[in-house]
């Protein structure tokens, strides 16, 4: 059993986007703060710290998680994916490129979290092999707040990627 005392800083090892990082955290350090300020993953954004806005959404051991509602100590020995792992500015991943094409972001503050949700969602889509309806995309997005876009461009970008994901999974299985 692991027991960590409140006042002390403990060494936490996390794999982020495939690379191993070690940093220090007290038990109450939010995973979002740890990723941002201890490890430097500033693409993890914080908009509410109470698990509603979705800006801090990441993948933790493959599952979507609000990094503001998880403590760094919980993430010891896990693997995390953040927006920094998706694509590079000069070589955007298709999902990111679709966001640019469909003007799915304005200030971009909500965007990293939405991209991570969209990634998980599109992985599901590829597994199931059925294109989502606009309504299903909107339902998925309802776990995020964006104050700039009115969501329209985001919905379009994800629908466009879903088509591709289906096409690809058909191709692979065929």
């Amino acid at each position: 059993m692991t027991i960590l005392a409140r006042e002390q800083r403990h060494s936490i090892t996390v794999k982020v986007n495939g690379l191993r990082y070690t940093g220090m955290a007290t038990p109450r350090t939010l995973l979002a703060d740890f990723l941002r300020h201890e490890l430097g993953f500033k693409g993890v954004h914080v908009g509410c710290e109470h698990a509603v806005c979705g800006a801090c959404t990441i993948l933790l051991d493959g599952l979507l998680a609000r990094a503001c509602a998880i403590y760094a100590v919980q993430a010891d020995d896990t693997s995390v994916e953040t927006v920094e792992g998706l694509g590079k500015p000069e070589a955007l991943a298709p999902l990111q490129a679709a966001f640019q094409e469909h003007h799915a972001l304005q200030c971009g503050f909500c965007t990293p979290g939405i991209l991570m949700s969209a990634k998980a969602f599109l992985d599901d889509v590829a597994t199931v092999g059925v294109a989502p309806t606009e309504q299903q995309v909107r339902e998925m997005l309802s776990g995020h707040l964006c104050r700039c876009t009115g969501y329209d461009g985001i919905v379009k970008a994800i629908l466009a990627c879903a088509e591709q994901a289906i096409g690809k999974s058909r191709h692979e299985s065929g």
Partner: protein, 802 residues
């Protein structure tokens, strides 16, 4: 024959900003650590809405591990002066309560610690003794003689009262065939950007200067006010904005109070300090749009011609008049006629302070409240006078030939065609079909309504309009003010690469992309090769009091500075080349990254050769040309003159339009309203980048829907805020924002260099009125209050149930 010029302006170019934002590389305020030794701040806030501070005991907090200092309001008052407002009533706005607290959430002390966690622990240990006073929350109650007085130096909570008359409204009303009146209230809500406020303040010792990083958005008219409050010369306050800002919609204007607070704390403690607002702080203590209580009267002749308007506005300003307030009450003032020809207008404005958070810039700034009054009145009058709301509007619209049109209040409307816009609106909405559907639904005993709101979109503000809160005599004493200048700097370095510096502090509106398009076109290069810097450093960059991002000023005003500046650089390049080619400047053109002689394609030099000449060989430059290739243009629109003695003011540069139609149904058993159709027609003049235009319009609509149907910052009768989290402040999600059909009417503006009009507020101003009108139509009643939530609508349908 001139060769076709490939045009960047007007293209739906994907944004330059996006790659950094999409990969987590954009840097926001909380991402910055610009100085070593940063300490973190937590703010101790008043739990009471109103009270007198008896004592603050900081000892146990100071004894805690990791705590460096605790600073109280009275410590801060020793080095910070209150910030004045144009309203001369003695209200002392300080960003911290000193003797009194006047709203729940008002700062009373600041804890400085080695991290935010420890700072919050210590903040809990600061014991603040407050003798509670009776609070007053509503503006009407606050005006009662018996109401508790917020500011003892002022003799009333009504801190400003002004009346305005344009034409002869009394006669218009006396002679009217019919008058129609509407009493209304307009609730309080806020645009709540997903990124909150953030400030890093460093009181440097040598040079003796405050350097502050923040996601402040301007207006930089607040800079001289801040320097004044800190008691330093302007060049001793260096403001730097973060490279990226996570939305604002106006609300990040009010950061300036925290810039002052943190600056004072840094000076007093000797530490550079950082504070990032949390969501609870944002929702309870940052800023919001003003609550209004009002009455509007319209005078009509027998044909339905509007002959007079009378506005009676009571605005709840919150606990203080925080600059640039009361601008929200005066922004629409000169355009009080809306889209209509109405010669006689009377306005009475009462500004009231209450024990609630101070108001400030918020998307639509004054527009939602104004159009809620005017456009609800028109729909209401149509019902009362027996007109179709479309016909009543057409009867009174300004005609196309009337532009440019000077309003009774002194605004100059640049261009548009309201009748045509209405045609487009009705066609896109299938108005006839909607009316048939309404009849069918009603026959079946259900609720269906259609509502309109026709708005104009003032853009590029005259910094002087807020001085309408002063009497002409007070204005004369203060000295004339006018204008709203804009600046841009373009630098072509010795390698020929281009950097553009803007003064527009965007928070997501794509200014960098549009600026690159404009400069690319002028210099015949690719926008991708242009760097656009949108963060401001007041020490290094061209700025002025009107710099910042507000009032849709980019397309209306800032683009003019970019164009002017780019043309100057282009002219310099052509002059240098003309010297090299030994030909006339007029014969030189820029094309394809080259400077060449028109008609002789092989007489061409790469732009970078010419640029290099400007830097490396100043001696060889034509007479009169400076070395280097840096140009700064500061332009100001001649339209924006000082208010006159009759309180007329030309308050903005361009006036686009937003004409909305909403059709809604309401489920009687749940009160749930469904937006069955929403159409919005805009005239933004020439579109500089249709992608960005579309984004602004859809975003403005979503804010309008939020304000109309979901969002409210409410208080209980003791002045406790009731919406401190995103769980109970209900912003619409992707499931709530209904589809909207957008149509464009394009009448280029004569007032801006590219024919563009400002946009951004958009339907955030008109959607509340359009949806309320649709609900009024559906329910057959006029007492509509927002937000139109299911419980509210259900209650209206089932008034009989106890």
């Amino acid at each position: 024959m001139t060769e076709p010029v490939f045009s960047w302006i007007g293209k739906a170019l994907p944004r330059k900003e996006d790659p950094a934002l999409l990969t987590g590389q954009a840097r926001f305020i909380d991402d910055l650590e610009p100085v070593a030794g940063l300490r973190h701040v937590a703010i101790v806030r008043s739990p009471h809405a109103h009270g007198r501070i008896r004592s603050i005991d900081v000892d146990s907090a100071l004894a805690m591990h990791g705590v460096d200092a605790v600073v109280t309001g009275s410590d801060i008052a020793a080095i910070l002066k209150p910030i004045p407002s144009v309203v001369r009533t003695p209200i002392r706005y300080m960003p911290v309560g000193v003797d009194k607290v006047r709203f729940a959430g008002e700062p009373v002390a600041v804890v400085v610690a080695s991290d935010r966690y420890l700072a919050e622990d210590a903040a809990e240990q600061v014991s603040v003794e407050i003798d509670p006073l009776d609070p007053v929350v509503g503006p009407v109650a606050a005006m009662c003689d018996t109401a508790p007085l917020l500011h003892e130096d002022a003799d009333s909570n009504c801190v400003s009262f002004r009346t305005f008359r344009y034409g002869d409204p009394d006669t218009a009303f006396a002679r009217a065939a019919r008058t129609v009146s509407l009493d209304y209230t307009f609730h309080r809500y806020a645009s709540t950007p997903i990124e909150t406020y953030g400030v890093i303040a460093h009181a440097e010792k040598a040079p003796d200067r405050y350097t502050v990083w923040s996601n402040f958005q301007g207006p930089f008219v607040l800079h001289p006010l801040m320097a004044g409050a800190l008691g330093v010369a302007g060049n001793r306050l260096r403001l730097i904005t973060a490279p990226a800002s996570g939305g604002s919609f106006g609300i990040k204007q009010a950061i300036f109070g925290y810039i002052l607070l943190l600056s004072a704390v840094s000076r007093l403690t000797g530490h550079p300090v950082k504070w990032v607002e949390d969501r609870l702080e944002h929702l309870t203590a940052s800023s919001a749009a003003a609550e209004r209580v009002g009455r509007i009267d319209g005078a009509f002749d027998e044909n339905g011609t509007l002959t007079g308007l009378r506005f009676d506005n009571i605005a709840n300003m919150g606990a203080y008049l925080r600059p640039p307030e009361p601008a929200s009450v005066y922004r629409m003032h000169a355009a009080s006629n809306g889209c209509y020809r109405v010669p006689h207008i009377a306005v009475e404005n009462r500004l009231v302070v209450t024990n609630t958070l101070p108001v400030g810039l918020n998307r639509g700034y004054g527009g939602p409240q104004f159009f809620f009054a005017l456009e609800r009145l028109i729909d209401c009058a149509a019902r009362k006078l027996g007109f179709d709301p479309v016909e009543l509007r057409r009867q009174n619209f300004l005609r196309k030939e009337a532009f440019p049109y000077t309003t009774p209040g002194g605004a100059t409307f640049d261009s548009s065609d309201y009748d045509k816009a209405m045609d487009m609106l009705l066609a896109a909405a299938d108005y006839k079909g909607l009316k048939e559907r309404r009849a069918d639904v009603r026959r079946a005993g259900n609720y269906f309504g259609i509502g309109f709101a026709c708005g104009i979109e003032p853009s590029g503000s005259n910094m002087a309009y807020v001085s309408l809160a002063q009497t002409p005599e007070e204005r004369a004493k203060a000295g004339p003010k006018s204008g709203g200048n804009a600046s841009a700097t373009i630098e072509m370095d010795p390698s020929g690469s281009v950097t553009v510096q803007l003064c527009s502090t965007p928070n997501g509106q794509g200014h960098a992309t549009v600026a690159a398009q404009i400069v690319a076109q002028a210099l015949a290069i690719n926008p991708a090769d242009i760097d656009v810097v949108t963060d401001i450093d007041t020490r290094n960059d061209a700025w002025s009091i009107s710099s910042g991002n507000y009032s849709n000023r980019f397309a209306a005003a800032v683009t003019g500075a970019i164009v002017t500046c780019a043309d100057r650089v282009s002219m310099r390049l052509r002059k240098i080349a003309a010297e090299l080619f030994e030909c006339a400047v007029d014969d030189v053109e820029l094309a394809d990254g080259k400077v060449r002689i028109k008609g002789i394609p092989n007489r061409a030099l790469p732009v970078k050769r010419v640029a290099a000449a400007a830097h490396w060989h100043p001696d060889g430059l034509p007479d009169g040309l400076d070395a280097g290739l840096t140009e700064t243009a500061i332009i100001h629109s001649e339209t924006l003159t000082a208010p006159d003695d009759h309180d007329r003011v030309s308050s903005a540069v361009t006036y686009g339009i937003v004409f909305d139609l909403a059709a809604v149904s309401i489920a009687p058993d749940t009160g749930k309203m469904t937006v069955e159709k929403y159409v919005s027609v805009h005239d933004v003049g020439n579109q500089l980048n249709p992608l960005v235009v579309e984004g602004q319009i859809l975003g403005g609509f979503a804010h309008g829907v939020g304000g109309a149907m979901y969002e409210e910052l409410s208080y209980d009768t003791d002045g406790n805020p009731l919406n401190g989290t995103f769980a109970d402040y209900r912003c619409p999600t992707a499931m709530e924002v209904p589809p909207v059909t957008v149509r464009h009417l394009t009448t280029p503006s004569e007032k801006s260099l590219l024919g563009s009009k400002g946009l951004g507020d958009g339907s955030s101003m008109t959607t509340p009125a359009a949806l309320a009108n649709a609900v009024a139509d559906a329910l057959g009643r006029e007492d509509i209050t927002l937000p139109l939530t299911p419980p509210t609508l259900w209650r209206m349908i089932h008034e009989d149930i106890a």
